[in-house]
């Protein structure tokens, strides 16, 4: 081979090698990158912050890529269930308390990797949280199977402006019992030509989840329960005298006290907070997640007041309902450590979650931050947590909630006898739990 030909061949070989190196380099980098898939249910204020946190985490950890998918709330659990059945769950997803227990008991979820959270052992990890706040999320083995990021105590909100218009002092005259809710609600209602232009108080019976958050506290306050043995038994206890009285109290708001009228809010409450935000109802039950939704009406932002949840006047125990959403990791994920590391990062941002999404994280250490102090009503939400009780957690919880929801709607919206509807509900409940 002469020199010219040798040079041409050598140059061509060098060129090919460079091309090959250029092609392989990104592939090599991609092989080192950990890709995490993350599903979350849609709640617009939280979606924005989640995307920000993901960007920050990926910038700080260039070897990690997190692919977020935001799924409409109405279809979220269906998608999670279907994915679980087909082994297609993402690495990280969020789940509510009612379904968390079911997924944990079926081995779908991974226990928290406390080392990924930077703790030496489980005890140190638990001490970083509000005492007892992680207990409902432990499996049979005592390990924690999710990190709560939305810890709602469901209490009451009132509109100060409407109270003052009715000649009441919102700082002292707010209702402490359900009977007072009815009496004060009647004073706050605005009725013109037989039509409720504004309700003093209304029940939001839009979905089984909401109904359970509204009916359950009255039932539990009276000492009753949905299932026997304080919900641990296998018989329906809903149609007990306590259950009937709780439902009759709900009916009384409309029929006895005339604080509102059945079903007005249901037609516009595709967004559950709509009627309170538009000042069509003076008192409402909510969790802290709802407070950022007031932003569309500056009048409501300026005049809302969070008060302790009213109790039955003959209550045997003080009860406030809790509901939670948790970040969980798929038990079949091969990247569990990385997944928990990201969740740890997200759960350290308590001071940002509160103003952005109204989420109270039970992880300690953020409540003295300026953002926390600026959140009106936070101290009431946190104080109420000590009386907190989660909604019924049961493998057939979904169906039981639906039966109760229908019974409550029948009684409150259609005026049927409370004992009759609860007897029917108990029949259906027992057919699914036996």
């Amino acid at each position: 081979m002469n020199a010219n030909r040798f040079s041409r061949v050598a140059l061509a070989a060098l060129f090919c090698l460079s091309l090959l190196a250029a092609m392989l380099a990104p592939a090599a980098q991609a092989q080192e990158k950990v890709v995490l898939t993350f599903w979350k249910h849609s709640h617009p204020p939280a979606d924005v912050l989640t995307e920000e946190l993901i960007k920050e985490y990926m910038a700080a950890n260039p070897n990690v890529e997190i692919r977020l998918e935001i799924i409409p709330s109405s279809e979220y659990i269906n998608k999670v269930l279907t994915a679980a059945a087909g082994d297609q769950l993402p690495d990280i997803f969020d789940i509510n308390d009612a379904n968390h227990a079911i997924l944990t008991s079926r081995g779908v979820l991974a226990p928290v990797d406390v080392a990924a959270f930077g703790f030496e052992n489980q005890e140190a990890f638990l001490n970083a949280y509000v005492p007892g706040s992680l207990d409902p999320f432990k499996g049979a083995d005592g390990k924690v199977y999710g990190i709560p990021f939305e810890y709602n105590s469901w209490t009451m909100v009132i509109n100060d402006k409407i109270f003052r218009e009715a000649g009441l002092n919102p700082e002292t005259d707010y209702p402490k019992t359900w009977e007072e809710v009815g009496e004060i609600g009647a004073k706050l209602a605005k009725v013109e030509s037989g039509r409720f232009e504004r309700q003093g108080f209304a029940w939001n019976l839009l979905t089984p989840g909401w109904t359970m958050l509204l009916y359950s506290p009255l039932l539990y306050q009276l000492g009753g329960s949905i299932l026997s043995d304080d919900d641990k038994g296998k018989a329906c206890a809903l149609n007990s005298p306590e259950g009937v009285k709780a439902l009759q109290t709900m009916q009384d708001m409309y029929t006895k006290y005339r604080a509102g009228a059945p079903g007005i809010n249901l037609s516009t409450a595709q967004n559950a907070m709509e009627d309170f935000v538009q000042e069509r109802v003076a008192m409402w039950i909510l969790g802290p997640w709802a407070v950022p939704t007031f932003a569309s009406n500056p009048e409501v932002v300026a005049n809302y007041r969070i008060i302790p949840l009213p109790q039955m006047s003959d209550a045997k125990r003080r009860v406030v309902m809790l509901s939670t959403w948790l970040w969980v990791v798929n038990a079949k994920s091969t990247k569990q450590t990385e997944a928990w590391k990201f969740i740890n990062y997200a759960s350290e941002q308590g001071a940002r979650w509160l103003p952005a999404a109204g989420y109270i994280l039970p992880r300690l250490g953020w409540t003295d931050a300026p953002e926390a102090k600026a959140f009106k009503g936070l101290e009431v939400f946190i104080d109420q947590m000590q009386y907190g009780r989660p909604r019924l957690i049961h493998p057939q919880g979904g169906q039981i909630s639906t039966f109760i929801h229908k019974a409550v709607q029948e009684a409150v919206l259609n005026g049927r006898d409370a004992k009759e509807v609860l007897d029917e509900a108990c029949q259906e409940i027992e057919s699914v739990i036996q």
């Binding site: 039509r195 079903g263 007005i264 037609s267 493998p395 057919s431 699914v432």
Partner: protein, 307 residues
Amino acid sequence: MNPYTTASVTQVRARAPWLTYKRRLALTGILFILPALIYFTVFAFYPMANAIYLSFHEYDLLSEKRYVGLRQYERLFNSAAFGRSLQTTAIYALGVSVPIWVLAMGLAILLNQNIRFRTFFRTVFFTPIVMPLVVLAIIWTLLYHPFGPINSVLLAPFTGGETIAWLNNRQYALWAVIIMAIWRATGYYAVIFLAGLQNIPNEYYEAARLDGANAWQLFAYITFPLLRPTTLFVVVVSIINALRHFDAIWIMTGGGPGDATTVLSVLIYETGWIGFNMGRASAMSVILFLIALGFTVVQLRLFRNNQ
């Protein structure tokens, strides 16, 4: 060699191709329908067979299936809620379909006349069926609001300002969703009737008019009998569709208030996707299928006998 000897005929028989003309025709036909057959097998027949299989099991999507025989069916027939849902479904299906048969036929006869802006009216009446159902359900939810246009404008002169909680009162909720379903589907079936009407030769009407037939006689002795095949189609399809309705009811009432609008399709969804009880939901689906099948068979027999 003589071409007609046995040996030569035998040779010809041995060489006959497998792919004869008839077989080629048949194969061509099969290949044409194969894509549709595959589609229906994967997305219709297999899920149906799977639902029947699941109806004999307990299954919550997360645990292993457990065979329970006919227990799901036993529980259903002992369930008061299932009985009420069957009743609600029957009222809903007939409440939607029967008015549609009458209104759609009447509308088709009107739209078949030589009137001004006929094309515009045909378009307007057909539009609801092409609009997204979710959008329509939300619009009707607002129309039915206690302070919405139906209460405040349409009914106010008759009710003296008293509002009807259309979607939240057991007395009215089922009729509210029925009215919406009738409004949406009438134009669609009117177009089907219109196609049937346009197949009736005009000479029949001319001959009848010459014999002195009035409008009612034209309808009773020419239009209605000759529309029989179209009517059979509309009757069967409208009932089957009504039995399957879910989206609008779910959006407008969620099956409520109570179980006032919990038709079988809603109950199946609640049982399967809220209650995680796939076995029981599958058993309900099988029963719904048998109801629709039974109705279709009865209708076909009735129409055939009357012919």
